[in-house]
């Protein structure tokens, strides 16, 4: 592992400019009150304080991605129609700078789905491999933070390539992966050995501020036990308005829909985010819908994250604990409460 480095606040723009010169650099910026990841613009200061409103999910898994474009052609009366496909598998080299550990960690959940042996996804793999995550460890915790419930923490390096920890005057920079190391070459960075102890203190203090996590280790079985208990799910989902805010803002929600958007003889095939909170998610061509109510749909969202996914993937919970689904929910549906209710009910 490379030596630890240090970047001062003053030198940060220099580093960012150098990074942006070579590839797409995404940083969190304020836009109309929300904080979103956008291409770096030296004129606009990035916002590193609180966690971004929307996670950097779109950097690797865009809200709508063109898989290929197609054109039909026909030469002459008797000729067979031709079809030309133009696949779009290449990905732009990208650095995502300034996400919190939870935002970067979300892709670990994606990796098992899209980079598995069974169904490797060329679009995802290309984008994932072309993207480097420079993550910032947290120095404050919010009421909605619960990364420590799901086996993570405010300085969790998993899923990141470089980890920055806020210290007086700047950040300590640690390489986490071989992919991150080349980024340390910038002259803006100086040796950070002297700051290492301070950074460890920050990490320990932030972790301590989160307190003890409740025991949800039985969530897999507890949620499965509630599968047919629709009264339970009615009570949990009463206030849910069935929008997709929780899903689209979730760093781990990876479901998609595929549609062809064409006009005349040409068009494109799109892969776009889908949300299990929407009626259309499971609507079948016959008109039948196995998840007809919001209670069925919320059951799926919670069950998938805390039961079905961990069952398939070595106990890994498909939630990074960022709390966006709680914070951004128009009616404050709290996934932590639902999981705890199920766990408590299983114990009773």
């Amino acid at each position: 592992m490379a030596a630890v480095k240090y970047i001062s606040r003053e030198k940060l723009p220099e580093w960012l400019k150098a990074l942006a010169a070579e590839r797409r650099l995404l940083v969190p910026v304020e836009e109309g009150g929300a904080v979103v990841f956008r291409a770096y613009d030296p004129a606009k200061a990035p916002v590193f304080g609180s966690d971004a409103t929307a996670p950097p999910k779109g950097s690797v898994f865009p809200a709508s991605k063109e898989l290929f474009s197609y054109t039909y052609g026909k030469e002459g009366e008797d000729a067979k129609p031709t079809l030309t496909l133009d696949p779009k598998t290449t990905a732009e080299p990208t650095v995502v700078f300034g996400s919190k550990p939870c935002g970067a960690r979300g892709f670990l959940i994606f990796d098992r789905v899209y980079m598995g042996k069974k169904f490797p996804d060329p679009y995802y793999i290309a984008a994932r491999e072309a993207t480097v995550f420079v993550t910032m460890a947290c120095d404050t915790v919010e009421n909605t933070c619960f990364c420590h419930w799901v086996g993570s923490g405010p300085a969790d390096p998993a899923g990141s390539d470089l980890l920055l920890t806020p210290v007086a005057g700047g950040w300590l920079v640690e390489a986490v992966s071989a992919k991150g190391e080349p980024l340390l070459a910038s002259p803006a960075l100086t040796d950070g050995a002297a700051k290492a102890a301070e950074a460890e203190e920050v990490k320990a203090k932030t972790r301590a501020a989160l307190g003890e996590a409740p025991d949800i280790s039985t969530s897999k079985e507890a949620l499965l036990a509630r599968f047919d208990d629709m009264d339970f799910w009615r009570d949990q989902s009463d206030k849910c308005i069935s929008c997709g805010a929780c899903t689209y803002l979730c760093p781990t929600c990876y479901c998609f829909s595929i549609t062809d958007e064409g006009s005349g003889m040409s068009g494109k095939r799109l892969r776009s985010w889908d949300a299990c909170m929407h009626f259309q998610f499971t609507l079948e061509a016959s008109g039948h819908n196995p998840r007809p109510t919001k209670a069925h749909r919320l059951k799926n969202r919670v069950g998938h994250k805390f039961s079905y996914y961990p069952t398939l993937h070595d106990g890994l919970i498909a939630c990074c604990g960022c709390g966006r689904c709680v914070k951004s929910c128009p009616v404050s549906v709290d996934i932590r409460e639902i999981v705890q209710n199920a766990v408590a009910k299983a114990k009773a």
Partner: protein, 162 residues
């Protein structure tokens, strides 16, 4: 390349089957000179026109939209155009808040016998659209303009500091 490329603008007309479509036909049969920018979509009644037809047409890049139906009290279905008049007037006043020039949309009444009135309406509306020029596109707004409006309502309460 068609000879009119670059000279013509894209204007969409929604015409009711019973009066205005007939009026346009009368103008054609009478060989009245008309500009050729307008593409007509025939609908059963002006009351069939969802204002969203017009909004979608304009948002997706049409340079102008013209709606024409039967004169009030002459609707084939008795009252379709009375409902239409309310909806279309609401839409006309709504367009400018979206950033679409209200001059890009008009509605009027032309009966099946009014070939000359149709010629007049089409000519006047097409001239009006040509004066406005090609419609600006939402996906092609200049970055300077975006920067200018970014803070427009910062004092209006709709803001979370980061």
């Amino acid at each position: 390349m068609p000879v009119l490329t670059g000279k013509e603008l894209r204007i969409v007309g929604f015409l009711c089957n019973w009066c205005s479509y007939g009026g346009a036909d009368t103008a054609g049969v009478g060989r009245f000179n008309q500009p050729t920018d307008l593409r007509i979509i025939r609908v059963p009644c002006s009351g069939r026109i969802d204002p969203l037809f017009i909004a979608k047409t304009l948002i997706n890049g049409a340079d102008g939209v013209l709606v024409s139906g039967c004169h009030p009290r002459d609707c084939h279905y008795a009252e379709g155009n009375f409902y239409a008049r309310r909806r279309l007037e609401v839409l006309k006043r709504f367009l400018p808040i979206l950033g679409i020039d209200p001059g890009r949309f008009d509605y009027t009444w032309v009966s099946a016998s009014e070939g000359q009135r149709w010629q007049k309406v089409v000519t006047a509306f097409t001239e009006q659209i040509h004066t406005l020029g090609p419609a600006p596109r939402f996906d092609a707004v200049a970055p300077e303009l975006l920067a200018k409006v970014a803070g427009a309502i910062s004092q209006g309460g709709n803001r979370v500091a980061a």
